[in-house]
Amino acid sequence: MSEEYNIVIVGAGPAGLAAATTASKYTNKILIVDENIKPGGQLSKQTHKFFGSKNHYASVRGVNICNILLDGLSKEKVCFRPETSAIGFYKPDTLIIQDKEGLHKIKGNKFIFATGAIENMVSFENNDLPGVYGAGAMQTLMNLYGVKPAEKVLMLGAGNIGLIVSYQLMQAGVEIMGVVEASPFIGGYHVHAAKLRRMGVPILTSHTVKGVYGDGKVEKAIIHKLGGGFEPLHGTEKTIEIDTLCLAVGLTPSVELLHQAGCNIKFIKELSGYVSVHDDMMETNIPGVFVAGDASGVEEASAAMLEGNMAGLKAAYDIEGFNRSVFLNEKEIVEFELKSLRTGPFCERAQAGKKRLMVEER
């Protein structure tokens, strides 16, 4: 037997929770599934304060944003199933989920895939040696489970994740031996980079990791300088003693379920990989199937939440057909917020990507 819901949301991260928040204002029978023990996705690991305006939860720590969103959800309208993986989508309207009891068939009127992204890997010598971690794993260990994950860390990647996780590791008492970045520029916000530099952490641009070495676990890394064509420059090798190499080398959108649902998938470099084509209200080419958050192109949690709001609004409107002016008014507010968020100087790339996506859709 299959269970039926008005809206099925996959992923209880910022986009999924925001979608449920907006949708539950107008409709009920909403299901959120998430493979983790607790809801919140990346938010629950984010101990840093957010930027932007008040409407973007500025000055609120990610973990607290998560709690605000959760507290706002009505238990009568929204059913949350943790430790539940969405393992397959069968056209036109069936999601298969797996929990401790086994497999279940879920039917939905609308689907919102807020499946996020997965961390990238890079190739270097011995990259499978124990002691090579993704930044997300480090954050989970220290911020969710309260475990000090390492003693001496080298960070690869100077985007926002690399910078913020380095700082959080220092707060947890971990020594950061440096941050290396292959491109000639620091990708993340300068305010984060400045914080690290004030603490004496070197950020080496045009550098990368040649390999990690050790007896059964990481004991040292060798880094080297890169030339203008990203070619290694011989004679610039430096050895750094570490026990952990942390990778913060970008994310790839998780679009597998969208692909199974028949959504049009396009490679858009600015959005970090293959993403699902969607319209201005986050609906894909398959009517009733929505995407929100990193799965629609890697951006930040603030954008993910607004995209979730938008998807939740349209899905609920299509089900309930409530007052059109209420709908248009709320749509306009979310559009305005998204626009103001994306006009920031660091959002040019994402904005260009979203533009390309919309154009290619036509």
């Binding site: 397959g88 069968y90 056209k91 069936t94 298969i96 497999l103 068939k105």
Partner: protein, 380 residues
């Protein structure tokens, strides 16, 4: 594009490619194969890859025995490794009716010279030690049945055919067939027109569509059959295992992955080739009942393909009136892969020497005028 061809074959599956090769081997020049996707992209590439000789009608048995004989020499003839493997077929009986039918089949098959036996459940365990024999009343076993990789067999034929001058137009779709006074004159594709005086319909699940371009209504309907493959594991069993009772077949590929397939006998005809959850759910439960050891093996992929089914589950071969130059190799009802090597030779004899073999005559479309059909009951 070459605007003329002596023979245009519609469909780049196993039947189309095998025929192209046999024609070229007999010296026919200017053969052209038209395929709307890529080679083996239809039913061939989606099939279980088995070849068996254990059928219930004399024609199918003879056909299959002759095909196996070709299969066994194919790697050498085509200079290609097709993963040909004679691991046998073990067909399980769960009811007294099945046993009675199997006794009849085996008698007929043995009369025709096939080395096949009806065996006790205990003997099944010698062949497949992990088999669950609860409820099994017996089984038929033929050691010379087996399987090959359908992609490789298709490529093997196509590669040799290409070397011998056959042209393959991939990603090309037939949109119309021109005729004049009951003779076909040309095939129109989305990439242009090809003048020809012989057209072969080898379009598998889409055969009816192709024939209907000339206003023909051949009794071939597409039915979805689903299949899955597991992660590769150590060798568990050699033969293809079939149960008509459970509507299931399974075999282990040379790389260790286990294929399991079934068709839903109650599903209506359609062109649907989406995988379904109900299939995965049912076939895994059945599979684990027959082979409990499969319990902890992960499924990595599922897909579906079309059986092109005729009223008597036997193919339609040869010309279809009123066109004597519109030749059909269609309606194999789920066993086109295993019969293709021999069928290609019969059809070649007809095209080249105008020789109508007994097999083609038996499979003529005319048989459907007569109500008393010899239905093969050994279909899964």
């Amino acid at each position: 594009m070459n605007k003329k061809a002596s023979v245009v074959i519609i469909g780049g599956g196993i039947n189309g490619c095998a025929l192209a090769y046999e024609l070229a081997k007999k010296g026919v020049k200017d053969v052209m194969v038209i395929e709307k996707n890529f080679l083996a992209s239809g039913s061939t590439g989606r099939c279980g890859g088995g070849f068996r000789q254990q059928w219930s009608t004399p024609m199918n048995i003879k056909f299959a025995m002759e095909s196996v004989d070709i299969f066994s020499r194919l790697d050498e003839e085509l200079q290609y490794k097709t993963e040909y493997y004679q691991g046998g077929y073990l067909i399980l009986a769960y009811t007294p009716e099945e046993i009675r039918q199997f006794e009849k089949n085996v008698r007929l098959q043995r009369e025709m010279g096939l080395d096949v036996r009806l065996i006790e459940p205990k003997e099944c365990l010698k062949i497949v030690p992990d088999l669950n024999i609860d409820g099994v009343l017996g089984a038929t076993y033929c050691k010379s049945d087996g399987h090959a990789n359908p992609f490789y067999v298709t490529q093997a034929y196509a590669k040799k055919a290409k070397e011998m001058g056959v042209q393959f137009l991939l990603d090309t779709e037939v949109i119309a067939i021109d005729s004049h006074n009951d003779r076909i004159t040309a095939v129109q594709t989305d990439k242009g027109k090809i003048m020809t005086d012989t057209v072969v319909n080898a379009a598998g699940g889409h055969a009816h569509l192709v024939s209907s371009m000339l206003g023909l209504d051949i009794p071939v309907k597409p039915y979805r059959h689903e299949i899955l493959v597991t992660e590769p594991v150590n060798r568990i069993f050699d033969p293809m295992i079939i149960s008509f009772h459970y509507h299931i077949y399974m075999r282990q590929e040379l790389n260790g992955g286990i294929l399991m397939g079934q068709g839903d006998p109650n599903e209506p005809s359609s062109f649907n080739v989406e995988g379904s959850f109900d299939f995965i759910n049912q076939v895994c439960k059945k599979g684990m009942k027959i082979m409990p050891v499969l319990e902890n093996i992960s499924v990595v992929r599922q897909w579906a393909g079309l059986y092109a089914v005729t009223p008597d589950a036997q193919p339609i071969l040869g010309p279809v009136p009123p066109f004597d130059n519109f030749i059909h190799i269609v309606g194999f009802s789920g066993h086109g892969f295993m019969l293709a090597p021999r069928v290609a030779q019969h059809i070649t004899d007809y095209i080249v020497d105008n020789k109508l073999s007994d097999e083609i005559k038996n499979c003529s479309i005319d048989r459907f005028k007569n109500m008393d059909l010899d239905v093969d009951v050994n279909v899964v």
